[in-house]
């Protein structure tokens, strides 16, 4: 039964993905695929296909990063966007631009990855030293931390007249995706595959330290590897296409709500759902003010926000 649902969802995603190729100002219809003229081929291969791939890669990887993070911190409300990871990447981008001549994507990405790793490690270090009674306190700490980091970033950007560029970097937007400028995103596919191979280990670590040790799983190492994967994915996605709010938080929560927490089973569905979520947001972003676009990050923020509130209300109802 569940297998059939997944198959139907997958088919829907493939169809929607195919249809999205024909959405845009330049004329391109499915019939043109048979015999495209030179202009049509160029639109297809330098813009439409790269954009679609970027959407699928970023959406699936961010959702999986959120899933892994929520599991390893044993808290449903912890994701790259509520642990401050995204904000650390922003700071990394500004630092790279200012002091490392980081105009190249690779330069920004390396510094972004370093900042994301350090920032997430700091968050976890903080958590281990705090006595926390409420699950909601953990993401609050992360959001506070993100706020402080983001303030520092804004200050720097303001002093060096980078505010506008920073806005463009951080806000999720696929309109700038062109062949030759998104290929580093393929790295997140590798990270997602690694996460899948380690899915059982993450499941065991999510059961807690003594369960993990009992089953012969090196707890600390598994947690570190998982959080590193989530941080690297976040950094690559934010540097490539910007941040899509709530993606890493809402999608894993919806999927695990329906399917339970066995990562090996849940992870592929989470990846699919994440890709579908971002594709839907992007299609909306492209059509809502056609022929103009609004940033996908904005659409994702609105839809994700509504879903998040629904999740919170539902969690409260279940607890009563």
């Amino acid at each position: 039964m569940q297998r059939r649902h997944v198959a139907v969802a997958l088919a829907a995603l493939v169809l929607a993905a195919f249809a999205s190729l024909f959405l845009g100002v330049s004329d391109l219809t499915p019939a043109d695929l048979v015999d495209p003229d030179e202009a049509q081929a160029r639109v297809l291969w330098t813009s439409r296909v790269p954009r679609l791939l970027a959407i699928l890669l970023a959406g699936s990887a961010m959702a999986v990063a959120g899933l892994v993070m929520m599991h390893l911190t044993r808290n449903r409300f912890v994701s790259p966007q509520t642990a401050g990871t995204t904000e650390w990447v922003g700071l990394g981008i500004v630092v790279a631009t200012l002091w490392f001549g980081g105009t190249s994507v690779l330069g920004k990405m390396s510094i972004g990855v370093l900042f994301a790793l350090a920032g997430t490690a700091f968050f976890v270090w903080l958590l281990q030293r705090m006595v926390l009674t409420d699950v909601v306190v953990v993401p609050l700490v992360g959001i506070l931390l993100g706020g402080v980091v983001s303030a520092a970033t804004t200050f720097l950007a303001y002093r060096f007249d980078l505010l506008q560029s920073m806005d463009v970097w951080m806000n999720g937007d696929f309109s700038g995706v062109l062949a030759g400028r998104y290929e580093l995103l393929w790295l997140v596919l590798a990270a997602t595959v690694v996460a899948y191979l380690w899915a059982d280990r993450f499941s065991v670590a999510g059961m807690g330290e003594s369960f993990a040790i009992n089953l012969g799983v090196p707890y600390t190492r598994v947690v570190m590897v998982g959080l590193a994967i989530a941080s690297v994915v976040t950094a690559i996605v934010v540097v490539s296409v910007g941040s899509i709010p709530f993606l890493g938080l809402v999608v894993p929560n919806l999927v695990t709500l329906a399917m339970g927490d066995n990562l090996r089973r849940v992870l592929p569905v989470t990846a699919l759902t994440g890709a579908a979520f971002v594709l839907a947001c992007d299609v909306l972003a492209r059509t809502i003010r056609y022929p103009y676009e609004v940033p996908v990050g904005m659409i994702g923020g609105v839809i994700g926000g509504v879903l998040f509130i629904w999740l919170l209300l539902r969690a409260r109802k279940r607890a009563l």
Partner: protein
Amino acid sequence: MIEIESVTKAYGGVRVLDDVSLTIPTGGITSLIGANGAGKSTLLSVAARLLPADSGRVRVDGMDVATTPGPVLARRLAVLRQENAMSVRLTVRELVAFGRFPHSGGRLTREDHRLVDEAMAWFELGPLADRHLDQLSGGQRQRAYVAMVMCQGTDHVLLDEPLNNLDMRHAVQMMRMLRGMADELGRTVVLVVHDVNVASCYSDRIVAMREGQLVAEGPTDELMTPELLRKVFDVEVEVHELAGRRIGVPWS
């Protein structure tokens, strides 16, 4: 066989375990008894490498638990702690199947599936197989955890207060199941138990602790005496023979 050699463990200057040496022979049920804070749970945790000892060492079948690779030891010794606050939503079957992780690394073979079914049948979890853990009562969940530990198929099974959360009927049922694991499956079962009479009725050997030190250890019959119980618990306990069992009565 579990050999504990002069193990010491301190928390903030307080010695919770003070030079404890003990050999737990292969087979049967051994119960650790003692008052709250006597160091039973700590000793169990150290023996199961959940806690590092400050000094001394523990060997399981000759393997030092501090240095033996995790997966190797996980096939010889399984442990369940008292507190199992788990937020992960797994079905009972998924949880029990994780007991096979040290053997199969997650890719369950047909033999693994058979062992999972067997463990669930043993603890009468069949009807609950597809329920999520958060939909179970405390007692059912406790049974599911112990089934997972049993499914691990280790020679040594260490359980901290396995009767927690269980009502009288389920407590008796659990002890019978553990007895069966020892008698029929030849497992070496080590328990932390706070009810002396449970220890007396179901275990072959008793290890008595007080203030981090070993007071006595030996066959249950030899240890169930008013003198020893007074020494261990600091309270007068009469010991009566009832239907061939020694029952301690502290309410005199």
